[in-house]
Symmetry: C2
Subunit: 348 residues, 2 copies
């Protein structure tokens, strides 16, 4: 089993990627393929010690810039590092791909080259979110791949989120909920009400609607929403953490007693940061394509990318996509019902 | 000028309301009308000292329960405390109403009795949100009145939010932004793109799209979104605060040094709570109805309700609705354009 790493994507490409790949090899014994400008990678690798049996390089000659149009990159840069890395998964030479490059281009390339898992219309990006339960985050999806969602897509996100929670959180029967503006049945707009009905009929452990406030309280394992809402939820949570950090920093400076207190509380603050921080997991999977694709922030550090490589290997080893296919086949009737709903929408 | 207070609404109705009314009279010299079961209110008032010239009671004989259907309450309970309180505003006997009762019923009653400000299609609820800038929160709207929004409505929310920021934050030229999943023009779904175009043509100080993470960083004064997104954003922010508090509490308990540190940091934590807490303002206005309507959490304490009464008086004194009407009349052409868009939607 080998994990392809896009060595040219991200804000500080090459440095961080090479470092992360070496660490993944040394710390976990994972087999890594670095995809990028071979001579540059080889040059960077000279300062590292590692098992050369486990770290290969595959050359690529183009780079997708962070601001480039994904559609254009997909069309014109067929020798880019992300394209070559995804091609390795398609050909079976790698089992997963990790990229901190242009997110849109990574998604578009993965969807185009790998195609969707049978029975999945739209791949979605999932993120692990912190919960008050120690070592037990929850899965939020979609966080950005799809802005406008039919009940069919939302229902399939739930199936994929369930499979991902079984894989990454090792849960036997994840509690699946729909992000809504109230807990009662019948809340939200048309698509949510229909999705609620579909979920009730599914094989999933559907626990109903959940509000944005309650989802952090260890009441659910998978929270389903469209990619626009997911983006807002994720960013608001990040913004609130930043707000807390910035206010405390400012207020602590105002008195020497507070400064001492802050020093004495370093432990709890570190623990909070660790429990709230996604970088411990490293990266968010694009669920629903034929292959494991882990998308990382452009600003990811080597530690985060190393963890993402490990995460990619776990998802591949535990046959995440087979689990998704299993969920689909257990819920074919409900999926058909959701498709009929789409048809009716078109007719009306 | 008098503020009508719904004495029977909220989780601990009567106690908290009577207490808050007395405090508003004593602390700020505001004229308050308590609306509810007269004998019960009179009974509660016996233990308080206040200027009886400034505190009147208007009797009502029905109560809208917290879980009751708003439509049913509106139809069947014409002598409820919220209805009588809103009627006082309609008749000119009061200038504003404050309620911690059934939010849906308060909104439905206010919309039905007071009607919309001319040029406003859909009233919206605004909330003040914390920002890193000391004493300078921002306005988020809609946070729940409308789940599905046409560009016309979102544009009108921007006009109302601007008027509210001028009123409550005393700003001369509020920075207005659209909550979106990216900052570039063209982000988001159809309604957001169209609203972006409308805002660009308006008299508002439109600064473009803002992401959920950046809005806390004092880059904007008014953030516009539909009521579903606003609900999610507000609740996720609350949930994240709760998460931080709960983790820190748990971690602090784990070592005596942390406990001491926590004691020494009481000041900063208190400051954080105060700066993050909406109860200092007290309540959220329903913008766009003919009259000032302040909606409070059912769980509001007397301190919060007292502040809401003061907030109501300020909004009435500073002629919030005249400001909204002014914004409308300055942007009639853009509103017409938004209406044409609606027409086109219907045709297509």
């Amino acid at each position: 089993m080998a994990i392809a790493v896009d060595a040219m994507g991200g804000d500080s490409a090459l440095n961080v990627q090479v470092d992360a790949a070496v660490r993944a090899v040394n710390d976990f014994g994972i087999e890594v393929i670095l995809v990028g400008a071979e001579d540059q990678i080889r040059n960077k690798l000279q300062t590292h010690r590692y098992d050369s049996q486990k770290l290969r390089i595959v050359n690529s000659t183009e780079i997708v810039e962070m601001e480039e149009s994904p559609a254009q990159a997909l069309r014109q840069k067929k020798k880019s590092s992300i394209r070559v890395a995804v091609d390795l998964v398609a050909s079976g030479d790698a089992d997963a791909v990790v990229s901190a490059g242009n997110t849109g281009a990574s998604m578009a390339t993965a969807k185009f080259v790998l195609k969707s898992v049978k029975g999945i219309e739209r791949p979605a990006i999932a993120s692990l979110m912190p919960s008050v339960h120690r070592n037990h985050p929850f899965v939020l999806l979609d966080i950005g791949a799809n802005t406008d969602c039919k009940p069919l897509y939302l229902f399939q996100f739930a199936l994929m989120g369930d499979a991902y929670a079984r894989t990454s959180l090792h849960l036997d029967n994840p509690r699946v909920a729909l992000l809504n503006n109230g807990e009662e049945e019948g809340k939200g707009y048309y698509e949510l009400k229909e999705t609620y009905d579909l979920l009730k009929q599914s094989t999933l452990n559907f626990v109903g609607n959940i509000e944005g406030k309650a989802m952090f309280k260890d009441r659910v394992d998978v929270v389903v929403c469209d990619g626009f809402i997911g983006n807002i939820a994720l960013k608001v949570a990040e913004g609130t953490f930043d707000f807390v950090r910035s206010i405390l920093r400012e207020e602590v400076e105002s008195a020497w007693l507070s400064k001492l207190g802050y020093l004495a509380m370093k432990g709890p603050f570190r623990a909070l940061r660790k429990r709230a921080d996604y970088s411990e997991v490293g990266g968010a999977p694009l669920l629903g394509v034929n292959g494991v694709v882990i998308i990382c922030h452009g600003s990811s550090k080597a530690h985060t990318l190393r963890n993402a490589i490990k995460h990619a290997q776990e998802c591949a080893e535990q046959k995440l996509n087979a689990k998704i296919a299993g969920e689909v086949s257990e819920n074919l009737e409900v999926i058909q019902q959701a498709k009929d709903l789409n048809g009716m929408e078109k007719l009306s």
